[in-house]
């Protein structure tokens, strides 16, 4: 007797699954964070050294302070998914995906935010330590309406003395107070920079009306509004307690990233279509079941990946497509086993049961060894390889669930409904191949 309700249950599950997937798949796909190799952006690995030359070791405290200062700067940039992490003992990795203006972002990150006031002989008169905390802001000059950065000093006396110094010690046109950001003794000098069209210092105001005893200072640097705003934010965030040196960097242009993603996804579709087609030709009815579980597999992997807030990279997409291969393998092992049992003359029902049972330990061993390799990759790999490893692990676990249990459940509905009793051809086994018991 054929049990029809099992077949009805099969179609119900497939329709429900199909409905759920078609409704939510686009939303999930859109919410997945793309790595910078897919959407453009850049990644920099900095090596940290203490700014204070008396200290020779980088402390954990220093690293944490640097990370939070960088974090504040990145926020000022308005990057949605920044990734800043400490690596090893003295390294910090910054990844900014989808940044439109890479140049500004790079400059903003690496500035030490070390504001200094110097005379035209480059002698230090006032340092950033004299700034009042949180005292920098964007303002517009009352006369020219140009954007300027207004800063508040802790002590008006200090600034007055500095202005007094330049007026007394220098004669025009060198009686100026030069304001520098990140002054480097080996590289910068007022004498050279003042000749340049676009000097490295921010500004060099003079004091035509005598020394100024004030704590409110305006820095005019011919800024754009964004630049002035950023400088103010950086000054408020505080200078970095360390010197940073780029030791690795990777910048991907947005259109290059997009192109890589499009062609890889296209290749993925073709590859998956080929696999599904082959499965259906070779395994007939079981191939159709495999196709359903594979669709569920891809959907679930993407859903888990989005939920984990994983970052999808190019190698990650490769891992996903390779995971399809693993999921197919689990199906193939089971189906081959079922076919074999059918050829030994077992009934469809008992071949299904024996085949599922015997293939399980094989699939388990094969998957665990691969997870082992992926785990090592995750632990030792750099960030791109890690993306690959995470995807591989998620893929293997999901493929195990869908290809073993999903496939078993769906195929079970049909087998147990008994419609296929005495019809081994449905499973790709000819009557002539069955050995007589």
């Amino acid at each position: 007797m054929v049990k029809k309700w099992r077949i009805v249950a099969f179609f119900l599950i497939v329709i429900l699954l199909g409905g759920l997937m078609s409704q939510t798949a686009m939303g999930i796909a859109k919410n997945i964070n793309l790595g910078l190799d897919l959407q453009g952006g850049f990644e920099i690995l900095y090596e940290i050294e203490p700014a204070d030359s008396e200290q020779d070791e980088v402390t954990e405290e220093m690293l944490n302070a640097t990370v939070s200062a960088l974090d504040q700067r990145v926020n000022a940039l308005g990057v949605s998914e920044p990734y800043i992490s400490i690596e090893g003992e003295d390294r910090i990795r910054v990844q900014l995906a989808g940044v439109e203006d890479q140049q500004t972002a790079r400059e903003m990150l690496s500035t030490e935010a070390d504001l200094t006031f110097r005379d035209t002989d480059d002698n230090l008169l006032l340092s950033g330590d004299s700034l009042e905390e949180g005292g920098a802001s964007l303002e517009f000059d009352a006369q020219s309406n140009e954007p300027v950065v207004a800063i508040t000093l802790e002590d008006s006396e200090e600034f007055g003395e500095a202005s007094q110094h330049v007026i007394e010690e220098f004669s025009p046109p060198d009686d100026r107070l030069v304001i520098w950001l990140d002054f480097d003794e080996d590289e910068h000098s007022y004498e050279e920079e003042v000749m340049e069209e676009d000097p490295e210092f921010l500004s060099a105001p003079g004091f035509p009306r005598g020394p100024l005893y004030t704590s409110n200072v305006q820095i005019e640097g011919g800024f754009s509004v964004e630049e002035a705003e950023f400088l103010a934010e950086v000054l408020n965030a505080g200078s970095l307690p360390v010197d940073m040196e780029e030791i690795y960097s990777n910048a991907v242009g947005a259109s290059l990233g997009e192109q890589a993603m499009e062609s890889t996804i296209y290749a993925g579709f073709i590859g998956v279509a080929l696999i599904l087609g082959y499965m259906m030709v070779y395994y007939r009815f079981m191939g159709i079941i495999a196709a359903i579980t594979l669709a569920a597999y891809i959907y679930i992997v993407l859903a888990i990946f989005q939920w984990m807030q994983g970052v999808l990279t190019l190698p990650g997409i490769a891992a996903l497509i390779l995971g399809v291969g693993m999921a197919v393998d689990a199906n193939i092992i089971t189906y081959e086993r079922i076919k074999e049992e059918l050829k030994y003359g077992r009934s469809v029902m008992s071949a299904f049961k024996a085949g599922s049972r015997k293939s399980l330990s094989t699939i388990l061993d094969a998957n665990i060894t691969t997870i082992l390799a992926a785990g090592v990759l995750f632990y030792y790999g750099d960030s791109a390889v890690q993306g690959f490893a995470v995807m591989l692990i998620v893929s293997i676990i999901t493929s195990f669930l869908t290809a073993v249990y999903g496939s078993r459940l769906l195929l079970g509905f049909w087998v147990k409904s008994r419609v296929f009793n005495k019809k081994p051809r449905v499973f790709g086994v000819k009557e002539s191949e069955i050995r007589e018991l």
Binding site: A251, A267, I321, T369
Partner: protein, 311 residues
């Protein structure tokens, strides 16, 4: 459609000497290639800078070279890429600094309308990456040997690692021969193949183990050989189908995937070929030889014990 291997009398075991000779010869060639040509290490493992530019039109290496020259840079190597040669990869030996990167990016964005990608690696980081990759393969191998030894027995684990090293070394040999660039994704590909290779070998071993359990007498080498051959035939259809499906995926990525992932896919394809060879012709056969020797030793011991007992 069906593969009916079990009914055909294919004897895998008989030609095992030939099967061992081929990998041995390839290993020899590999060692010679590596010591002469070496590998074409990308900047991921050495140090230097890489600039990737893309234009809307077809480019030539000379054009790109001139563009770099016009802003005062001299690339050490330029390779063209893309379907219509609209992309170019330029390599510099030194590490470009922030200002230089800015200048290059600005210039090419203006000229070609797309922002170029720039990567730099300092010597120290490059060496660390290579070391980490090597260490991870070693650790993975040890982990796999331990796992297989627990689930099966030590001889299976040893044979599986031999197959694994064969596959990894084969990929490296081909990359030395073709002088394709070795980069981080290459390492990922080798490690994936390591996973697949072990996966493939385990499936066959699993069947050998099962057939060993069901066998009534295993006294001679021929008994063992028969079991190994039957197991190989029983799993052959699965081996072929699995490799075919993965080749579909890797092949599609190789032919149609993005530029950056092409070498990765190529390494995978080579690895799959090597992996199939090693699990069919190497791992099980090596295990057979070792197990056969173990069997003989045991027999000798028993015989010795018997003669002693009689005396």
């Amino acid at each position: 459609m069906n593969f009916n291997f079990e009914r055909k009398n294919i004897n895998f075991v008989k030609h095992r000497k030939l099967f061992f000779t081929i990998p041995a010869a390839i290993a020899l060639i590999g060692i010679i290639l590596l010591s002469t040509l070496g590998l074409n290490l990308g900047i991921d493992f050495e140090s230097g800078s890489r600039v990737e530019v893309m234009s809307e039109e077809t480019l030539t290496a000379d054009e790109v070279y001139d563009e770099f020259a016009s802003i005062g840079y001299e690339p050490d190597d330029i390779t063209m890429a893309g379907d219509d040669n609209e992309m170019a990869h330029a390599r510099f030996i030194g590490v470009l600094d922030q200002g230089e990167i800015a200048e290059i990016q600005e210039h090419f964005t203006e000229e070609y309308g797309a922002e170029p990608s720039v990567g730099t690696v300092s010597p120290q980081v490059g060496q660390e990456l290579a070391m980490n990759a090597l260490i991870s393969v070693m650790i993975a191998s040890v982990g796999i040997i331990i796992y297989v030894s627990i689930r099966f027995e030590f001889l299976y684990g040893l044979a599986a690692i031999l197959a694994l090293l064969h596959d990894a070394f084969f990929i490296i040999t081909v990359f030395s021969l073709t002088q394709l660039e070795v980069n981080i994704p290459f390492i990922a590909a080798v490690l994936t193949i390591v996973g697949y290779s072990i996966n493939d070998t385990i499936v066959t071993f699993d069947r050998i183990r099962e057939n060993m359990k069901n066998a009534e007498v295993i006294e001679t080498f021929d008994d063992l050989a028969k079991i190994v051959n039957t197991s190989l035939l029983q799993t052959l259809a699965r081996s072929i189908n699995t490799v075919l499906t993965v080749v579909f995926a890797a092949g599609a990525i190789f032919l149609l995937g993005g530029e950056g992932i092409r070498t990765f896919a190529f390494a995978l394809l080579i690895g799959l070929v090597a992996g199939t060879y090693s699990s069919l012709f190497l791992a099980s056969q090596v295990w057979l030889v070792w197990k056969g020797k173990q069997l003989e030793r045991r027999k000798q011991k028993e015989a010795l014990a018997e003669t002693e007992g009689e005396a």
